[in-house]
Amino acid sequence: MRLFIAICVCRVLYFIGRLIGKGTSKPGDIARIVCPNVLNRLKFSGKVICITGTNGKTTTSNMVTHILRENGFSVINNSFGSNMLGGITTSLLTNCTFSGEVKADFSVLEIDERWLRFFVKEVTPDYVLLTNLLRDQIVRNCCPEIVLEKIKLGVTPGTTYILNANDPVSQQVSWGIDNPVVWFALGENERSTKECRSGTNDAKVCPKCMHNLSYNYYHYNHVGDFHCENCGFKCPKADFIGTDMNFDEASLNINGKPVKLTFDATYFMFNAVAATALCCTASGISEEKALAAAETFDIGVIKRYEEIEVLGRRCQLILTKQNPASIDQSVDFVADKESPRTLIIISNNMFHTERKDVLFMYDVAYENLKEVEHIVIVGKRRYDMAVRLKLADIDKERVQICDKEEDLRSCLEKTEGNIYVMTSSVFSNEDKVLEELKKL
């Protein structure tokens, strides 16, 4: 009876929430008060898949859903909701029968890496895919190993883990457990580097013996082909591997079979290998069928890279996640653009907390902006950003500190080329700056 009431309450609140444009966590949260452990009472007719990790979980979850649906499976997911327990509860309770049956071949759930251990107390997933563990916002996670410990607390017997062979941190989930593991990896390509180009590398030392870890190449951060000369720790042999990347064509081979994707970023190719590994393992479809479906998956890049016109120039908004790895990707994105370029960096206090320590600046490789012709800094922490850029040896002649949003025009008039605006939700006055920009 409680389950029935919880489902009804959740659906009514969800319906009202949609009408008034509210978030999707609350209905689930309230259903959980009505019926604690509500997820435990659901009956899944299909398999439960959890997708977690620092970066790439949304894209990977959407791609997995797409591949499975294209192959004729029924899938429910939480793509419209939050990836914490409340949002997941809302997704499942609005997609089950009134008796609590989840009638789908697959429930594909993107889940926050800190919440997995709570979810598994109620539902044992059949598959868990861990994309990677990178340094996140410090207030969330401190360092990836702290998150790793939390994920390890949620290891359940019978679950198959799909793990990143190139990531020496996240793969530690497999240490000391008997669960089946399927490994995915990306091979060396023209974008891999011999030295780490990112601002952070969380595996400079071997997690087993603390001696220096050697890399044949890096993809980004500590993700790459590594080995320890002291104790022998190294990349496991991949069951699914992406090779022969051609970035101009967004194509690669996965286990030797060609696939042409809709987006050319390295991380997107990683997501495609991970999604293929998961779909083939969980559903038994052939690699060819998985890849054919992956080819038609559209990431919706436009949301991350929106374009407006400013002073008659092309102006692209680059929205980042709140972690150094994500900001590093945006730095590289601008660094790769053609000259001349103007970069506006919006630098503010931490989102929500208004904390003034913007430590993450020091975990980002702003050094890679050296060739960018013009940089304009705005926001409350603009001088801190200027100090960071000075340390990165950015020529001070290239940097303007804009003290007031209204002065943006005069700052921009001294610059040339396409404009890129780097902002993330850690910052707080991006709306005002964007408003000013749109006025110009």
């Binding site: 410090i138 207030v139 401190c142 360092c143 190993e145 702290i146 410990e149 590398n201 400079k204 030392v205 013996c209 603390m210 001696h211 220096n212 002291n230 907390t353 904390r355 003034k356 320590d357 430590l359 993450f360 600046m361 020091y362 975990d363 409350k380 001088y383 801190d384 200027a386 100090v387 000075k390 340390l391």
Partner: protein, 238 residues
Amino acid sequence: MRKIKILNLYGEALDLNGDGKNISAFEKRVAEMGYEYETDTLGVGDDIDVSGYDIVFMTHGKPHNVSAISEHFIKYKDNIINNIENGKVFVVTGSTNMLFGKSFSMLDGKTYEGIGLFDCTAEEFDSLYVSDAVLVPEFAPEEKMFGTYYRCESVKFNTPNENRLFKVIKTDEGKGSVGEGEGCHYKNLYATWCLGPVLVRNPLMMKEVLHCVLGEDYRETDFSLEEKAVKMIIDELL
């Protein structure tokens, strides 16, 4: 020409939240003053002797890494303590300070030995204490600095307020909070649980350390940008 020898001790294992940038900033100032420098990074694969260096940095590290290197570190306890007693300049930031206390116990249930230079013990807890801080340094009691605490250790000093590096005049409350006095200044060792780019952002502390290393060879350099940035933060906090 004078060459400054810098040691980044366990720099590969202790590398969290931009602390390593303190060393880059120090190197730049030394170069700007017209001196050469050479930086070595030593780790658990090396034998350690700090005597040949002008300054030793030990930066903030992940809790797991701090405990994992402790066994190696205490093998060199005598070398480290003797050099500190004889005036070697040390800068220690963040949780790495645990290695200088008597012992520290971690969430893995184990207790690790420190070199016992500080009369303190530490305990890791399963949450993070986060705070901006305004600090008055003991070496410049009329001035103010900005610090950042992110810690998952609570630290117990048996000798309260002796040799503290900072008087803490503003922080958030909560478990793991730092109390009124923080860090240690003993001979030429500067130790603080503040982490991140403490020296990069605080010209006051950078100058103090540079003076300490260079003595009469210290030359003025331009800190105006850094001074403006840190003043803005402190003004906002107070």
